[in-house]
Assembly symmetry: C2
Homo-oligomer: 349 residues x 2
């Protein structure tokens, strides 16, 4: 099969690799039809995080089941399925609690074998990991494109809103206008927030935020952005979604939160020191919740909304490429010419 | 009047200062009878934090009302009162919500005029700040000594337990064997925790922890302490009380928390970087709640328990001094020869 592989900073290639096969009774093999490039893929692409060279990449798989091990019961060859960005067994303490990212049998995609940005992928713990798209919708392209963000960014934005405690009638500030921040806006709207203030620096993305339900937009930077957010919320918002993870975005989150409020954070924290951030959180008794999104636990609920047509995160895909053009997709995201790139992999059509 | 004043690292003196007077209609003046030296007083005493020189110090006042302004209704001269470590108005948004430390009219004790480690203190916003001890108990020395920790450490330990979400039947790990950590043990016990694992390094303090309800003790350090706590909790505790605030104690808190658990933190964070702490919190979806304890909001509830005899934090006072010996009290705490020092100020007796 052909698959995208990583070869060092800025170097993503399409290469031939052996077809993955069912190894364990709980495995499935899926022929990828749709996948995506993630903001977190840019970390290694930009050399900001180590990643094994020569390894297949991608963690947002959707496709058609090709083969299953003997223990796999809920899907069979021919089913349309998708999977979140982490693998989970579905039956351990943490999976039962809905914290699938802490699955005791869990792992990440990729490594030596197969990633989601390729023609095929081996899915360990298929019973816990794979979600079947109902047959009625399995070949509806528009629905599939709306479902694809459930593999990562829609669940991650939702986790930010859940962790920030956003509920009916609330005011929420969403920090970050990347795909996750935009999904955070959508999730806040879905949870009934009355006012959603989106903070970011890109006009095209903030337009998507407005179409997703943002009632106000702040495009200023630094202290000015903080002042505007505080003014608009009469001193701070009870609910802040931190969808970036840098020191300055975390400090902004703390600064615009109302005393006693909550910050839901889903951007991996990078270089955050306590000098400003934790001190502000401490002095205002702002709670911090969130972390890596247990996407698998959210998919069923969010999928229902997508299938019934009340939720559609697909506008985060502002560019679509084919398998061979994945390197171009990385470049587009790196240069911020695309919010998020969808990859249509299927070569059988 | 005589009052303790700060003159630089390691230099606390007893000096003559003008008697404080009622300045505003909402003021009261209290003749201090009991007060205490706080672990946080050691920050400036040790030169770890700037503090205005020549200023009166102390923030844990208990005494007899001497005078009140025209707008003060709930106390009158002769009443026994106590006040928490911050001043709050009692009527703003945050006071009404129970977050008195974010009072929009709030302030700290001390500064130019009068502190709690002196003969008298001016109390701004007396209506919001002062708590009256019921007349029946106002001269019961044993009760007063049990009530004194409500001015700070008992409420702070309680805040850690509340913020960590400790409830009936839970297992809690308490990090830190200072007065706040010990009160965190007591608060966890009061909230119905079934297992309370106290972590610290001082045998005498850990004995108090046991008398306060700790069911297990961990006196190891570093990785060994983490391993022991994880072993004892089969992988981590759902509730962790962080009562220190250093980078290593915060990292320990994150490390011994169960995925999806909560850390309640009340030690002012000092020098915490995200390298370990926030990354661990993020990857395990551990929430962080707490901050500076809104003591005023907790006092009424905790006082009821103390008055009915079901709560007694007074064993945290392992040394008692008179006003003139406050400098000796600081030395004893600095050298860890006392957990917490009570000061009996009243010279009228």
């Amino acid at each position: 099969m052909q698959t995208a592989t990583y070869h060092g900073k800025g170097d993503v290639r399409i290469e031939e690799r052996p077809d993955p096969e069912v190894k364990n009774a709980t495995d499935a093999v899926v022929r990828i039809t749709h996948t995506a490039i993630c903001g977190s893929d840019l970390w290694y692409y930009r050399g900001q995080r180590d990643h094994p060279e020569n390894s297949p990449i991608g963690h947002e798989p959707m496709g058609i089941v090709e083969d299953v091990g003997d223990a796999v019961r809920h899907v069979e060859p021919g089913d349309r399925v998708l999977a979140p960005f982490t693998i989970s067994c579905g039956s351990c303490e943490f999976c039962r609690k809905g914290l699938t990212t802490s699955c005791v049998n869990g792992s990440s995609w990729g490594g030596d074998e197969s990633g989601a940005q390729g023609e095929k992928i081996r899915v360990p713990h298929a019973g816990g990991t794979l979600v079947r798209v109902p047959d009625r919708y399995k070949d509806n392209e528009k629905t599939l494109e709306a479902l694809l963000p459930l593999t990562d960014v829609m669940c991650t934005g939702h986790h930010a809103a859940v962790s920030a405690g956003v509920d009916t009638g609330d005011t929420a500030v969403v920090i970050g206008d990347g795909a996750v921040g935009l999904c955070g806006v959508l999730a806040s709207k879905r949870r009934g927030a009355e006012r959603i203030i989106a903070m970011g620096h890109h006009e095209d993305r903030l337009e998507i935020a407005e179409s997703f339900g943002a009632t106000e937009i702040i495009s200023a930077r630094g202290e000015q952005a903080i002042t505007e957010a505080r003014d608009q919320t009469y001193g701070g918002a009870d609910h802040v979604l931190e969808c970036v993870g840098t020191e300055s975005s975390m400090e902004t989150a703390a600064a615009v939160a109302r005393p006693g409020g909550s910050v839901g954070y889903v951007g991996v924290p990078m270089g955050v020191k306590d000098t400003e951030f934790l001190r502000t959180m401490f002095s205002k008794n702002i709670s911090l919740a969130g972390g890596i999104a247990p996407a698998r636990s959210y998919i069923d609920d969010l999928m229902n909304d997508i299938l019934q047509g009340t939720l559609d995160p697909s506008p985060v895909f502002t560019k679509t490429v084919e398998l061979d053009d994945i390197p171009e997709g990385y470049r587009a995201m790196d240069e911020r010419n695309a919010v998020k790139v969808m990859v249509k992999v299927d070569r059988s059509g």
